[in-house]
């Protein structure tokens, strides 16, 4: 019966993912095979397109660049995230809280804004050269290795959060035993703590990889200086070429899905035959120790690091938001508050947009949390036969550019027969919520799976034997053990959805401009100061909301 109920849950989760992710994605990929299928034309497409990736210079280069950037960023980003999470969970030092705030900020900031900031800093006449006289910066940044570093500094938070969540609990007995047995702290770390963190490490690495190869913001912003086409960039060109080539976007998306499938197979292979549900009676919440004489050293290092990862990209936006002319430099006569004043002009249009985006993101985070929790449960505790499939689906939207999903949503939710059912959602705000959920599922699921991996099934079995229903077991045992992860997941999903540009730009209903669309429009209209001011305002509001929720919940946790 236990298997059967899990089976049920498995099917329900499958259906949810099918509707949210697979169907829209297939709707685009099928364009390769049947280009006119949604308009009543049954024509077979040109399958030779599938091989074009090895022939067309643009596509070939895109694949190469994507792989290079993806692998490089994954390696360095995971390492960086892991080291930082370890330091943060091991020692207490001044400014440590700022690191967490910075990580959240990076996570919710859309990559095109981060990248814009980096570009403003490192361009030929950017802040680095003009303000500090660092002539070497442009040359160092605008080359593959430089871009990998920038990408790393933007994407490492996924690895950091995954690792940090996993370090919330530890089995002190094992480490103590090893220490008593004479092992050095480093040896304890290398042979006991680190191996137990493997699932979180791999999950973090997979997330970084997928988010990187699916990223459009960096290649498009960097393109202002250095041409570095990637797969998502070519997908955009295919969609944005007239006559529009949905079939080409389908081919390239197919390759993206293939890439992440390979990445996941590697992850599965690495984790086979290992068990990581180490939590038992001996597990204790991990509390950082005082860093002692090193505390100021750590604090100083932390500050320098934050100046780089936040100071450069967001500081550039901040400066830009106070500037009149972009090329005017930092001079008194070029400074102004007009950009901020302009945000409140014109009947609060922008603020309405922000309100809409916050509502959409909040709905998506709450519903996404439920879906993500169930998905993670099936992945972790069930023997459901399509588990692998569910896992791939739960991650696909990270790597597939939002615009592909957006087009798929139009195909799926704009079919005439849905109208009498009241389900013709294209053209209604509901579709933005659905798309935001789809976009949020990867992060939510990953964080949950990472946390659940530590909770042994026997806990749930034990409660089950006492007659507890599955729902109660989840509520009474699982949830309290992973409250931190739940909070992280929900907030990450919320923050990222507010700024999700790609999906919004093809799906927003008439007269229903959302916040990222408004920001992007002002970037396109070259109102860089206004766009930067809007970014700072929106980012500030979102961060404030997240901090308040964090404070409320963490305090509750501390009290209980």
């Amino acid at each position: 019966m236990f298997r059967l109920t899990n089976e049920r849950l498995g099917w329900l989760v499958s259906i949810a993912l099918l509707i949210l992710v697979l169907y829209p994605l297939l709707a685009v990929v099928i364009q390769v095979l049947l280009p006119g299928v949604f308009f009543g034309n049954w024509v077979i497409g040109d399958l030779s397109l599938l091989l074009e990736i090895f022939k067309r210079p643009l596509w070939q280069k895109s694949l190469e660049n994507s792989l290079l950037l993806g692998i490089g960023t994954t390696l360095i980003g995971t390492l960086l995230g892991g080291v930082l999470a370890t330091v943060r969970s091991t020692w207490r030092f001044p400014t440590a809280g700022l690191l967490d705030a910075a990580v959240w900020l990076l996570l919710i900031m859309p990559s095109f804004i981060l990248a814009q900031g980096w570009v403003m800093f490192s361009a030929q006449q950017g802040l680095a050269v003009n303000l500090f006289g660092w002539d070497w910066v442009p040359g160092a940044v605008f080359q593959p290795a430089g871009l990998t570093v920038i990408m790393t500094l933007s994407k490492f938070p996924l690895a950091y959060l995954s690792m940090k969540a996993a370090m919330e609990w530890k089995v002190q007995q094992l480490s103590d035993a090893a220490r008593l047995g004479g092992a050095s702290p480093i040896k304890v770390w290398a042979t006991i703590q680190a191996p137990l963190l493997l699932p979180a490490l791999l999950a973090g690495a997979a997330l970084v990889f997928m988010d990187t190869i699916g990223d459009f913001g960096l290649p498009s912003s960097i393109a202002a200086i250095y041409r570095f086409p990637t797969l998502p960039y070519s997908i955009y060109s295919a969609l944005y070429t007239s006559p529009i080539r949905f079939d080409m976007a389908g081919v390239l998306s197919f390759y993206l899905v293939l890439l992440i499938s390979v990445a996941m197979l590697l992850q599965f292979a690495a984790m086979r035959r290992s068990r990581f549900d180490f939590m038992s009676g001996g597990a204790v919440p991990s509390v950082p120790k005082e860093a002692g004489k090193y505390r100021w050293l750590l604090a100083a290092g932390n500050i320098v690091f934050l100046l780089v990862i936040i100071g450069i990209p967001i500081g550039s936006s901040l400066m830009m938001s106070f500037m009149q002319a972009q090329g005017g430099g930092v001079k008194a006569e070029n400074l102004t508050l007009a950009n901020y004043a302009a945000l409140f002009d014109g009947g609060f249009q922008l603020l309405h947009g922000l309100g809409r985006s916050l509502m959409i993101a909040a709905s998506a985070a709450v519903i996404g949390l439920v879906v993500g929790l169930l998905v993670a449960f099936v992945l972790t505790y069930s023997q459901f036969r399509f588990r692998r499939g569910i896992e791939v689906l739960s991650l696909v939207t990270l790597a597939v550019p939002g615009v592909v999903l957006g087009i798929g949503y139009i195909f799926v939710w704009n079919q005439r027969w849905l109208e009498p059912l009241g389900l013709l959602l294209y053209g209604k705000p509901a579709i933005l919520v659905l798309a935001a959920i789809a976009g949020a599922i990867p992060v939510i699921t990953r964080i949950m799976v990472g946390a659940m991996a530590k909770v042994p099934q026997s806990f749930l079995h034990a409660a089950g034997l006492q007659g507890d229903s599955l729902l109660r077991r989840i509520r009474r045992i699982l949830l309290p053990l992973m409250r931190g992860a739940l909070l992280s997941a929900g907030l990450a999903a919320f923050g990222a959805s507010v700024f999700d540009l790609a999906v919004n730009s093809v799906l927003f209903p008439p007269n229903y401009i959302t916040f990222p669309v408004a920001i992007n429009k002002s970037f396109e209209d070259m109102r860089f100061g206004y766009a930067s001011a809007a970014t700072i305002l929106g980012g500030g509001v979102v961060v404030a909301i997240i901090l308040v929720i964090e404070l409320l919940f963490r305090r509750k946790e501390a009290r209980s």
Partner: protein, 375 residues
């Protein structure tokens, strides 16, 4: 093993179904809450208020409009809705996006279009929509009488779209810190000169809306596809840099990455107005034009408002207002008797490729350009 009562199944089914329903309910809720002060959302078709002033003198007044007019456009979104409402009494809902976003929406919606009007500066692409049979054919607006002769030439035989103005999709701009009017390039062919090597930027025709008309016009001017390729090869061999869109060229110019560019005219003039050190040259041979055209969706449910919108756009009064108040104000208006911006060059000469030719070779040229730009 079997200790879980049957009811569990129902509970699970319940949870998931409820959460799915919540999705819908929550969304419905949003819908209402968000649009509360905006009357109905576009989805709920409610008969529009009858126009206050008599503007539509169409032959078939018997057809009632089913809802609000939906216009897909890429510019003038800040002012056009209010202007139209004031002039005709019709409400209008806008979907704003860059050219590519608008076109991909139209294409993806093909089975069930949500738009009534498309109005954008991409004549070849809209011409393509006409070829696919997506546009209303054969209707002739009364205000066509106001349109200048050279603009009438853009209207296709089956009258699927109408020009409202044209702007230069590329003029020569130079950074005054490095060049003077004398030393800067004066013709498009000058871009191949060795002295300008690695300093020139242009927008990617596959991404930027006005960039394809730019490239197409120069292909046409060169004498055909092969000749056009040879012409642009001379630019590529001179280290041409291709940026996705015009604003990125602006950034590159003010950041000093490039010193010269073929830049869309509104972008160029607003750089000048922002006190950037930028000089503008209108080549005597002509600057490639990007023609802004408006078209009606073939199966529009709001034919009266749609026709009123076209009449309104072709009206000289409207176009004067766009010049005076619009953010894309630098253009050559299609209607007679409209004064263009005073600071816009008096000798501004525009050339355009034939829309049918440009539309026919669109995929080929864009792909060639994209593959070329990678190298």
């Amino acid at each position: 093993m079997n200790v879980y009562p049957i009811q569990w199944k129902r509970v699970t089914t319940g949870i998931v179904l409820t959460s799915m329903l919540t999705v819908l309910a929550a969304c419905g809720g949003n819908n209402g809450a968000e649009n509360g002060n905006k009357s109905e959302s576009g989805a709920a078709p409610s008969p529009t208020a009858a126009p206050t002033t008599e503007t539509v003198a169409t032959e078939e007044p018997a057809v009632e409009d089913a809802g609000k007019l939906v216009v897909y456009l890429n510019d003038f979104d800040a002012i056009i809705a209010d202007m139209f409402k004031e002039a005709t009494g019709y409400d209008v809902e806008l979907v704003t996006g860059n050219g590519a976003e608008i076109m991909s929406r139209i294409e993806a919606e093909k089975g069930n279009p949500h738009w009534d009007i498309v109005w954008a500066d991409m004549m070849p692409s809209i011409h393509g929509l006409g070829l696919q049979g997506q546009l209303l054919e054969g209707w002739e607006p009364e205000n066509l009488s106001q349109v200048a002769e050279d603009f009438k030439a853009y209207i296709p035989e089956n009258k699927t779209y109408f020009p409202t103005g044209a702007h230069a999709s590329g003029i020569i701009v130079y950074n005054k810190n490095f060049y003077t009017e004398e030393t800067a390039p004066k013709t498009w062919a000058d871009f191949a000169k060795a002295e300008y090597k690695d300093q020139i930027a242009t927008a990617d025709p596959a991404i930027a809306a006005p960039a394809y008309p730019f490239v197409a016009a120069l292909f046409d001017k060169a004498g055909g596809v092969e000749e056009g390729k040879a012409f642009f090869d001379s630019w590529f061999n001179n280290g041409l840099r291709v940026y996705p869109k015009n604003p990125q060229i602006v950034q590159a110019l003010s950041g000093g990455e490039v010193k010269l560019a073929a830049l869309q005219e509104s972008n160029a003039y607003s750089m000048v107005n922002n006190n950037e050190p930028i000089g503008i040259i209108w080549p005597e041979e002509g600057a490639p034009a990007s023609v802004r055209v408006a078209a009606i969706q073939k199966n529009t449910k709001n034919p009266n408002a749609a026709k009123a919108f076209i009449e309104f756009l072709l009206d000289a009064k409207t176009q004067q207002q766009l010049v005076d108040e619009g953010e894309e104000a630098y253009f050559d208006p299609a209607a007679q008797g409209v004064t263009a911006r005073p600071d816009r060059a008096a000798n501004a000469k525009l050339i355009a490729a034939d829309a049918a030719w440009a539309s026919q070779h669109e995929a080929e040229i864009k792909q060639w350009f994209a593959d070329k730009a990678v190298k």
